[in-house]
Amino acid sequence: MNLALKDTLHAPTRFALTALGVAFLVMAVIGMTGLYRGIVEDALLILDRIDADLWVVQGERAGPFAEGSAVAADMDRRVEGVPGVADVRRFTQFSQQFSFAGTSRRATVTGVDVPRDDGHWLPLAEGRWLSGSRYEAVADASTGLVIGDQVPLARDTYTVVGLTRHMVDSAGDGLLFVGINDASVIAQRRTSEEIHLARAARNGAVVVTADASSVAQESKIAAVLVRLDPAADASHVIAAMQRWGDVRVMTTGEQRDLMLNARLWKLRLQILTFTGLILIITAIVVSLIVYTMTIEKRHEIALLKLIGARENVVIGLIGQQAALIGIAGYVLAIGLSWLIFPLFPRRVVMLPSDLAQIALALALVCAAAAWVGIARASRVGAREVLS
C-alpha cells in the first residue's frame, strides 16, 4: 500500500492548501521567467522579423533601439548606390501619446517604407497592409484600436486598415505602423507657438550651426534598413558606408546584442535575480512543509520502525509525499498560469523548455526537502512509539 497517498487522502483539504501554496510560488517563478521571455521577445520582435541584414544609423550612435538616431531623409538613395546592396527601406520608431474615444492612449509609431516595404514580415490578424496612400495605419490589438477606427495623430486623421497581435515594443506599448512620410509628419508635429519662436530665433535666415545637425535632424528617419545581395560581402558593404563618416552601420546581430546586453541588461538581471530568490524561497518553504510533516508523523515513523519496516519504507513515505506536493503544486501552477497570465498587461511567455527547467528545479527542491525530512526521520527511534 502507498502510505504517502493514504496519508494525503486522509487530509485532502490540508494537502490541497499546501499544494496551492507551493503552486503560487511556482507560478511566481513561471511568471517571472515568462515576463523575462516576453520582454526579450517583444524587444526583439522588429529586429527579428523585419528582414534586414544591415542597419544604417546616425554616426557614432547605436541605432534607434538604443538611443536617438536620425539620418538624412535621402540617406536611402545614397545607400542604394553601394555595391552589394539589394534593397533599402527607411525606418523610424517613436512613442506617441494620443487621444481616442475620450481616453489617452500610448502607441509606438513605427514608420515603414511603403510601398517598398510590402509588410510580408508582419503577420496580420485582420484587415490588410498599408496600401501606400497616406493616412493609413496598421495597429496592434493591444492599442485597443479596431479596423475602421479613425485616429487623430498630429493634425491628421488616420484610418486603421489592419490589425496585428502581440506586436509591441520593449516597453510593452503596442506598435502602430504608418507610412514613413506619415511618421515623419507625426514626429515633427509642433504647436504654432513653437514654430513662431523657431522663426524668431533664426530671424528668418537659414542658419547652419554646429548644433543644427549635419545629418538633417528634421528628417526624423531613424535608420535605413539594408538587404544585401546574396553574393555580397557584408564587411565590404559596411566599410564602404562607414567611410562616409556620418553614419554607423550595424548588423542585425549587433542590434540584438545592444538590445539585450545594453538596453535590457539591468531589467534582465533584476528579473533573473527575483526568479532565483523565489526559487530559494520555494526551496525553504517546501523544505519546511516536508520537515513539519515528518515531525508530525514521528510517531507513525517510530511505529514503522518498531514493527520492522525497512528504512526504504520510511524514505518512500517522506519522499513520495514531497513528490506529491511538488507534482500537485506544479500542475496547479501551470493551470493557474494559463488562466491568469493572459490577463496581465505584459506578455508572459511560457516556453516548454522553461517549464521543463522549472519542473527540474522544483524536483531538485522537493528532493532536497525530502532529504531534510528523511534525515530527521532517520533520527527517530522505534522506542519513540512509547513516548
Binding site: 500500500m1 502510505l3 493514504k6 487522502l9 486522509h10 518498531l306 514493527i307 519496516a309 525497512r310 512509539v385
Partner: protein, 232 residues
C-alpha cells in the same frame, strides 16, 4: 515451563548515568519464556518492567547481558539496533497500552501493513488481515479508521497487527491499562488463546491484578531486579 525457550535473557542490566549518579533501571535479570507460555510481569512503577521489555524487544541495548531468541544471541551491549529491525519484523509482535494504530489506515490496512513490509503481496496481506480481525470479532470494523473504533476495538486491532507475521514472541506493555475491566479481560483472554492455540510465547507487563488467573507464570520486578517467580 514446557518446550525450548523462545526468549531467553541472561544477566540483563541497563544502567543510566544521571546528574544524581548511576540509575540501575535493570540489574542482572535472567528469564526464559517458552513457546505457548503466557508470562505476566508485575511490579510497581520504576521497577524496571518497561526497561526489560525495551531490551527484550530489541528496542534498546543492554549495558550488559544478552538476549537470545530461539537459541540465537540477538542482542548484547554492542548490538546494532538498526540491524535488529529484521529480527523484530520476523520474530516479535508488540502491543502497548496505547494501540498506536496509524490514523490514516483502516483497521485491516493497519494489520496488513505488518505483512506488506515483510514482502507479502498486498492482496494476500489484506486477506490475512481480514481473517485475523475476524478471529478477534472485528470483521465488521475492518474498513473503519482507528478514530471510528472504540478503545477496546483499537487494542484488538493492535493485537491482530502483532500477530500478523505469526511471530514466536509477543511482548505486551500494559495492554489493558486503557480499557475497562470487561474489555481488559477480553484482551487478556485473547493473549491466553494466542499462547494456547498458536504456540507463541507471550510476555505481558501489567499492573492489572484481575487477570492473574490467565497467566502460566507471574514474575515480579522491584528496583530493577526480579524478585520472585510464581506459578499458579
Amino acid at each position: 515451563m514446557s518446550g525450548a525457550p523462545v526468549l531467553s535473557v541472561r544477566e540483563l542490566s541497563r544502567h543510566y548515568a544521571t546528574g544524581a549518579g548511576m540509575v540501575r533501571a535493570l540489574d542482572g535479570v535472567s528469564l526464559d519464556v517458552a513457546a505457548g507460555e503466557l508470562v505476566g510481569i508485575f511490579g510497581p512503577s520504576g521497577s524496571g518492567k518497561s526497561t526489560f521489555l525495551m531490551l527484550a524487544g530489541l528496542l534498546e541495548n543492554p549495558t550488559s547481558g544478552e538476549v537470545w531468541l530461539a537459541g540465537e544471541r540477538v542482542s548484547h551491549a554492542g548490538a546494532d539496533l538498526d540491524a535488529l529491525r529484521e529480527t523484530r519484523r520476523r520474530r516479535i509482535g508488540f502491543v502497548f497500552q496505547k494501540a498506536n494504530l496509524i490514523p490514516f489506515l483502516s483497521a485491516v490496512e493497519n494489520v496488513a501493513l505488518s505483512l506488506e513490509i515483510a514482502d507479502v503481496s498486498p492482496a494476500d496481506a489484506r486477506a490475512h488481515g481480514r481473517r485475523l480481525l475476524a478471529a478477534l470479532d472485528l470483521a465488521h470494523r475492518a474498513d473503519h479508521l482507528p478514530a471510528k473504533l472504540s478503545g477496546g476495538e483499537q487494542q484488538r486491532v493492535a493485537v491482530a497487527r502483532a500477530l500478523a507475521n505469526t511471530p514466536p514472541l509477543i511482548l505486551a506493555d500494559e495492554p489493558t491499562a486503557a480499557l475497562d475491566s470487561v474489555r481488559g479481560r477480553q484482551v487478556m483472554e485473547i493473549f491466553r488463546r494466542i499462547a494456547g492455540t498458536r504456540g507463541a510465547a507471550v510476555l505481558v507487563i501489567t499492573h492489572d491484578p484481575r487477570s492473574t488467573d490467565l497467566f502460566d507464570r507471574i514474575v515480579h520486578f522491584e528496583d530493577g531486579r526480579m524478585r520472585a517467580k510464581k506459578t499458579d
